[in-house]
């Protein structure tokens, strides 16, 4: 168990470090980092000051160390937006994005697992085919089109919901639905195939021969096996949801990190972009850490071998 935890933590540290290195490399390769971190019209002495502060006049390894240390201390540079520290500007917007992502994740997993289980239990029959067609359907629809259609329907035609803005619960409904439903298809397919895989296991046949009530048989023998692989999917779909958030927040003008990222990219606000990349990588790394640990807790084959 200690070994599992140590491996997982090592993986986390390596991933985050890699993300930092990646940003450092493209920052160096793309031109003068000092200029990149400052507005185009910044005076020469300010550029020189930044250069000294980030150690850009030193040899590369030293630059790298300085860079890592600065990020570790929370200094990601200044945003072009009001010259605020980038980290603070980004962190301000995290809660509303987490709210959106969390709701989306809940929708994706509840709707997706329910439909996946339903499809698996009707394998090959009409409900299965319908659900699987729907899964390809939502997988193929661009989320921005989905969003626009929802706006046309609920905001323009029916005037039920606000077309954008927030953050409020009413504003949350449409973007969360878009994020959740686009991922629900992936979840449904995954749950379906993992359930079918479990149902084909010999131990299911053996257990089905025991005098056990139906509900207990499903709860104790089918569900644990088909739910365990969902842990893998969790990390995977978190990536999809983060990416989806960038587009969906833009469509619905949701004041979160995703929309801010797109906005900053258009303005080439390097400090903000590097902050977000490092934060996203850290978040993903933590999700993977959680996945590894949960696996170790729930799967005895990993716990005791």
């Amino acid at each position: 168990m200690t070994r599992t935890v140590l491996t997982a933590v090592a993986r986390l540290v390596i991933t985050v470090l890699l993300a930092v290195t990646f940003v450092f490399v493209i920052l160096r390769v793309s031109g003068d980092p000092a200029r990149a971190l400052l507005p185009v019209d910044a005076p020469e002495d300010q550029i020189a000051a930044v250069r000294a502060e980030w150690g850009l006049d030193k040899p590369l390894p030293e630059q790298y160390v300085t860079y890592v240390m600065k990020l570790a201390s929370g200094d990601f540079g200044l945003s072009l937006n009001d010259r605020q520290p980038a980290l603070r500007v980004v962190v301000e917007k995290i809660p509303s994005t987490l709210l959106l992502m969390g709701t989306g994740l809940v929708i994706a997993f509840t709707v997706g697992s329910a439909l996946g289980l339903l499809a698996a239990s009707y394998r090959g029959r009409a409900p299965d085919r319908l659900i699987m067609s729907l899964a390809i359907f939502v997988h193929s629809i661009p989320s921005f089109l989905f969003g626009i259609l929802l706006i046309l329907l609920f905001a323009v035609a029916l005037r039920l919901l606000p077309s954008g803005g927030g953050p409020s619960l009413l504003h949350l409904l449409m973007p969360a639905a878009v994020i959740g439903l686009s991922q629900a298809g992936v979840v449904a397919r995954f749950v379906r195939s993992s359930t079918l895989e479990v149902l084909a296991q010999p131990y299911i046949t053996v257990a089905s021969l025991k005098p056990l009530p139906r509900w207990y048989f499903i709860r104790a023998h089918v569900l644990p096996g088909s739910a365990l692989p969902l842990l893998t999917l969790f990390g995977f779909s978190l990536g999809g949801i983060i990416a989806g958030a960038a587009i969906v927040e833009s469509v619905f003008a949701w004041p979160g990190v995703g929309r801010f990222l797109v906005f900053s990219v258009a303005r080439r606000d390097v400090a903000v972009v590097q902050t977000i990349v490092v934060l996203v990588a850290t978040m993903m790394a933590f999700a993977n850490l959680a996945t590894d640990l949960l696996y170790a807790i729930f799967d005895p084959r990993l716990r005791t071998s």
Partner: protein
């Protein structure tokens, strides 16, 4: 012999075959449009006709002059759509080929060379999978600015890790199989085994994976162009048509919706084919 559950063969899936044929027809139509865009387009894609601004499509109050209506500058949507299909398809197909080439090469190298090369490639795969590609792409575009070559190359790094992971895993499985062992025991050279036996055995899966990755690339390209950081005007792509039309959604809904639906039909068709291909080539279903 002890098949606990007797094999359940799927019933003849007529309906699905019809869907696949329809999808294939759609894809062919899109390809033809992409090839002959200029000849098919009734107007130049950038031809501005200020007298015919925001014309509705046919059946929605419009006329045969502009079947799919016009945009806020009076440009014919159908003509723009045709050029956009070409741009989007070319960009995504190129990107798809680049990703497959990178991924297959690295995956094979990892499986073939093992050792530190393998470790390095696996770390790269892990890292690439740990940052959502859209975020990665946005970061690169923020640092390097935008141009079409960079954009295509950037999209070409989408999904390489999936090919690499898949090819590596499959090649490792192939290498574990008895026939590779048998060939080695016969004294066959490693290069001959890799090229004549291992690669052909994983090739089918690579092609399936490409048909699954292509619609995702189309969505990605259009997503980035929609956000205004992909294909830039005056060039048109399906995504930037939606992005530019978004501002007129309340007054002229068709400007954004029509290209959006085109993306949807295209991706749905390719996905349907890819899905079918995956099922027919999946050995576990045989």
């Amino acid at each position: 012999m002890t098949d606990l559950i007797a094999p359940r063969h799927a019933r003849p899936r007529r309906r699905r075959e019809i869907a696949v044929v329809l999808a294939a027809g759609m894809v062919i139509l899109f390809i033809l449009v992409a090839i002959f865009a200029e000849r098919l387009a009734p107007y130049g894609f950038a031809t501005i006709d200020l007298r015919a601004r925001n014309t509705s499509p046919l059946f929605f109050g419009g006329s045969f002059r502009h079947i799919l209506g016009t945009d806020e500058l009076g440009r014919d949507i159908l003509s723009r759509l045709m050029i956009s299909v070409r741009v989007s398809l070319v960009v995504s197909v190129l990107a798809c080929l680049i990703a497959a080439t990178i991924g297959v090469t690295l995956g094979l190298a990892a499986a073939f060379l093992r050792g530190w090369v393998d470790s390095l490639i696996r770390v790269a795969i892990d890292f690439h999978a740990s940052v959502p590609f859209l975020i990665f792409a946005l970061a690169i575009l923020a640092f390097f600015g935008n141009n079409i070559v960079l954009f295509v190359v950037l999209l070409g790094t989408y999904g390489w890790e999936r090919y690499a992971r898949l090819v590596r895993a499959l090649a490792l499985i192939e290498y574990e199989k008895g026939y590779v062992l048998a060939l080695r025991r016969l004294g066959a050279g490693e290069m001959a085994i890799a090229v004549k036996h291992v690669l052909p055995n994983v090739a089918a899966i690579i092609i399936v994976n490409m048909t699954i990755a292509l619609p995702e690339l189309i969505l990605l390209e259009s997503g980035l162009s929609f956000l205004g950081v992909g294909i830039q005007p005056p060039l048109a792509s399906l995504g930037n048509m939606v992005g530019l039309g978004r501002d007129y959604i309340v007054t002229s809904w068709w400007i954004a919706t029509i290209p959006g639906i085109a993306i949807f039909i295209l991706t749905l068709s390719i996905s349907t084919i890819g899905d079918w291909l995956r099922d027919v080539t999946d050995p576990s279903l045989k």
